[in-house]
Subunit: 132 residues, 2 copies
DNA sequence: CAATTGATGTAATAACATAACATCTGCAAT
DNA sequence: ATTGCAGATGTTATGTTATTACATCAATTG
């Protein structure tokens, strides 16, 4: 998907996520944008909805948070599955993907005649620095 | 992990999940147990916490719901990663397990010196019946 | 201009989850 | 048996995440 020009609110939300060290909750984003006129959760959620659709932001289901894509423009994103390693201590997120994992999951899915729409792979644990 | 004798509340919550067609939210479980004296969310969440710990119930992160384990006693559960296919139309959940996926993810994790604690794999889409 | 479409603003509410504190129950040590 | 403890439970309140409903605004287009 080619990303269209972002609207004002979408840009504001995206900039906050890009500058952040780690994933942010929608309400944390809201707080960071109060000075820019944001007043209600919906302003954040609506922007996020589009940014997710454009593939420039990912949602981390297991921690109800959002993060800017670490590999913008990477073609794998369009058809591949993205995985995340999330440090439960420092919040650091690493985004990666593995074709073999994709293939195995999609092979299973095909066998079941299941029609996949969105796949979540999230590994929570401790990053190297925090595990030490 | 060997499952200890369940307490009254744990048994009630587990029975509701076992008899359910698909995954249930904590509040749905609460409603189903009002007749048995349940009054507050915490009664459900506390029971779920233990049932998750014993491995007889799984949490589906992407839909904030809980489901009874489909493969109780399966040894793979203790050390392997469980994956779920979730039908967004009828709610049906299929639990499966693929060693190759585990190996690939764990190999990646080792390479990063990341210490995994809990891994989530959830595929949302349409089951065979609903896709037709 | 009128109609449509997409974006935005605002208030209210729904849905999910935890904190804090009191009470009870079973069991072991004295 | 009494005391002390640990685990489970009950209850209220609160915190966090997400959506519904409705009004308004701006750009496009026929
Ligand atoms: Zn990405
Ligand atoms: Zn860390
Ligand atoms: Zn299971
Ligand atoms: Zn279905």
């Amino acid at each position: 998907m080619t990303t269209p020009q972002l609207t004002k609110n979408q840009s504001l939300v995206f900039d906050v996520l890009e500058k952040a060290e780690g994933p942010l909750s929608a309400y944390t984003i809201l707080d960071k944008l109060r000075d820019h006129g944001f007043r209600a959760p919906l302003q954040v959620y609506r922007a996020l909805e589009k940014l997710l659709e454009y593939g420039v932001v990912h949602r981390l289901e297991s921690i109800n948070s959002f993060v800017a894509c670490a590999h913008p423009g990477d073609d794998c994103h369009s058809h591949g599955i993205v995985a995340f390693a999330i440090c439960e201590s420092c919040g650091q997120v690493t985004e990666f993907h593995d074709h073999e994992v994709d293939h195995r999951l999609m092979a299973w899915v095909r066998g079941q005649k299941f029609k996949p729409a969105k796949t979540t792979i999230e590994i929570r644990g401790l990053c190297e620095a925090c595990a030490a």
